[in-house]
């Protein structure tokens, strides 16, 4: 897993160098589009909707549609000028209760580990957050955007989740009635919930459709590979090394005992 980014958590007077890795991945099967006649990949060509000319990256600029069919052109220079100053470190602003933040605010999660020299301060922060059941709220610059972050302790390492700003969150689109509940109904519902209460075990849940899709693909690929596999000799590093060694021994017949044999396992 490649490091997604490097950063520094600045916390009071200490700076903790960290590596951030993406925490989740999409394991779904993706298909490619192919031409039905020759099974070759479909390529996209970009062209102008007005003159029909085919375009390359060099011919393409950015515009913002402020009204139907009306654009303002934005150049890279324009964007460069308003870029937030590159503040690569994560500045901790304050600490909060772990369970106080609604999950709606969490966007993308990274796993963080300390870089060389940061082990002690990293572990101190993690252990203290864990003991107090707190998370840290911080800010950093990612790309050109100033990003809000939550630093969440785990038994092993820290999670760093990017967060939505307040104005990114949509309101409930319509109101609905909340009829009065009778105590009996309310108690019954609570009893039902409690009777079905078990810990959440993520490993119990699998996408069964994806599983079947993989099986289907494996069967089809195996059918295709049968022909190819038969013509291939098993190529093994042990036989390669033994062959080379044997040919040296042959060239130096005077001292065959000098080259030590590797004993085969029992």
């Amino acid at each position: 897993m490649a490091v997604a980014r490097k950063s520094v958590i600045s916390f009071g007077l200490v700076a903790i160098p960290i590596d951030m890795y993406t925490a989740t991945q999409d394991n779904d099967i993706n298909f490619n589009q192919l031409h039905d006649e020759d099974n070759e990949r479909i390529k996209y060509k970009k062209s102008c909707s007005h003159c029909g000319k085919e375009l390359t990256t060099k011919d393409i600029i950015k515009g913002y549609e402020y009204d139907k069919d009306h654009y303002v052109v934005i150049t890279d220079d324009d964007l460069e000028k308003i870029k937030t100053e590159k503040e690569k470190s994560i500045q901790i602003l304050h600490f909060a209760q772990l369970n106080q933040i609604s999950p709606i605010y969490y966007e993308k999660t990274y796993l963080a580990t300390p870089e060389a020299g940061g082990d002690k301060a990293f572990e101190l922060l993690r252990a203290a957050l864990m003991a107090e059941q707190r998370i840290a709220i911080g800010k950093t610059v990612m790309g050109t955007r100033e990003t809000l972050l939550a630093i969440i302790p785990r038994e092993d390492g820290l999670l760093i989740s990017t967060m939505f700003y307040e104005d990114d969150i949509k309101e409930l689109p319509k109101s609905y009635n909340k009829p009065a509940l009778s105590e009996a109904e309310f108690d019954m519902a609570k009893t039902l919930i409690n009777s079905m209460n078990t810990p959440f075990n993520p490993e119990e849940y699998k996408d069964e459709y994806q599983g079947k899709l993989r099986e289907l693909l494996e069967t089809k690929i195996a059918g295709k590979e049968v022909v190819a596999a038969k013509s291939e000799k098993p190529s093994n590093v042990i036989s390669l090394m033994d062959a080379l060694k044997a040919s040296i021994d042959q060239n130096n017949p005077n001292k065959p005992k000098k080259t030590k044999r590797v004993r085969k396992g029992a």
Partner: protein, 309 residues
């Protein structure tokens, strides 16, 4: 702290490159073209880490059972390789190492399974043995391992370095490594006790841009730093389908070429921010210029500023 428990080993590195030689105080082994790894094996688990201590088993799940083929708890140093057509194939190892989809990994592991070829043992039973001389470590290594398709012991020969080197030339293998028989294992050190003798040379360059050519071939424009300036170093070719090219394409473009002077055959180049470092393989010409330079892979463990003329 205990080497096995802390799992934080930085392997010993080759500190010298030489022409082939014969020597009674050296042994010679094949230099296998793969990923250098340290394996921590005990009676129930395999833990495989690369040079930067990243866990490798998720990418190479077919090696999860190699712990079953050692007799005592141990730490092994070696090369993770994939054999195709009788030779270690670096492209396939590299392709796999940047895969993340478990299904694609499973398919690749079935088609081109990897193996771990070990040439050193650093820990045996309950203590480290890095201070033992190399030949004693080799003996322990042979004693402790039952070879199979996934776990092999590197073969070595004594004295006849030139002969072994010639064989690697004839078979188009990467080259050989000479090691002094009484050498200790120095963690994380570049050492002259280990000498590489290579067919192909390689060097690190800054990826400055690329030129799309015919037949899905790409020329990568190479540079190196001289002080603060990037100096043009020529091209290396690669296939457009290589996984590394995706990473190169994703780097933001820059409007102008980054060099002071530039030869004419770079008109169609796309210039990118000089933020990637790559390894290029080439034959050496008497004049020192690159001959048949081929892009080998990106390397994430070196900063562009460290590629200097």
């Amino acid at each position: 702290m205990d080497l096995f428990e802390s799992k934080n080993i930085k392997p010993m590195l080759i500190g010298e490159m030489q022409d082939p030689f014969d020597s009674p105080v050296h042994i010679y082994e094949l230099k296998l073209d793969g990923i250098r790894c340290i394996a921590y094996l005990d009676k129930s688990t395999t833990e495989l880490r690369n040079k930067r201590n990243l866990k490798m088993l998720a990418k190479f799940p077919e090696l999860a059972d190699i712990y079953k083929h050692v007799k005592q708890r141990c730490i092994l140093d070696g090369e993770l390789i994939v054999m195709i057509d009788g030779k270690p194939n670096f492209d396939e190892v590299r392709r796999r190492s940047i895969m993340s989809n478990p299904f694609k990994i499973k398919l690749a592991a079935t088609k081109f399974p990897a193996s771990f070829t070990t040439y050193d043992i650093l820990y045996y039973k309950d203590h480290d043995i890095i201070d033992l001389p190399l030949m004693q470590r080799k003996k322990l290594l042979e004693k402790n391992i039952n070879e199979n398709e996934r776990l092999a012991i590197s073969r070595y020969i004594e004295e006849h370095g030139k002969d072994l080197y010639q064989l690697t030339v004839d078979n188009q293998l990467e080259g050989i490594v000479a090691k002094t028989k009484d050498s200790k294992y120095y963690l994380g050190k570049e050492t002259k006790d280990w000498i590489k003798i290579k067919n192909m040379k390689d060097d690190d360059f800054v990826v400055c841009g690329y030129i799309l050519k015919k037949n899905n071939v790409v020329s990568i424009v190479l540079g190196k730093y001289s002080g603060k300036n990037l100096v043009y170093q020529g091209h290396a070719t690669m296939g457009e389908s290589k996984a590394d090219f995706k990473l190169i394409k994703a780097i933001p473009h820059i409007g102008e070429q980054p060099f002071k002077g530039l030869p004419a055959d770079n008109d169609n180049a796309v210039w990118i921010e000089p933020s990637l470092v790559c390894i290029v393989q080439y034959m050496v010409t008497p004049t020192g210029s690159l001959r048949q330079p081929v892009f080998k892979s990106l390397r994430g463990d070196k900063a562009p500023e460290d590629c200097v003329v």
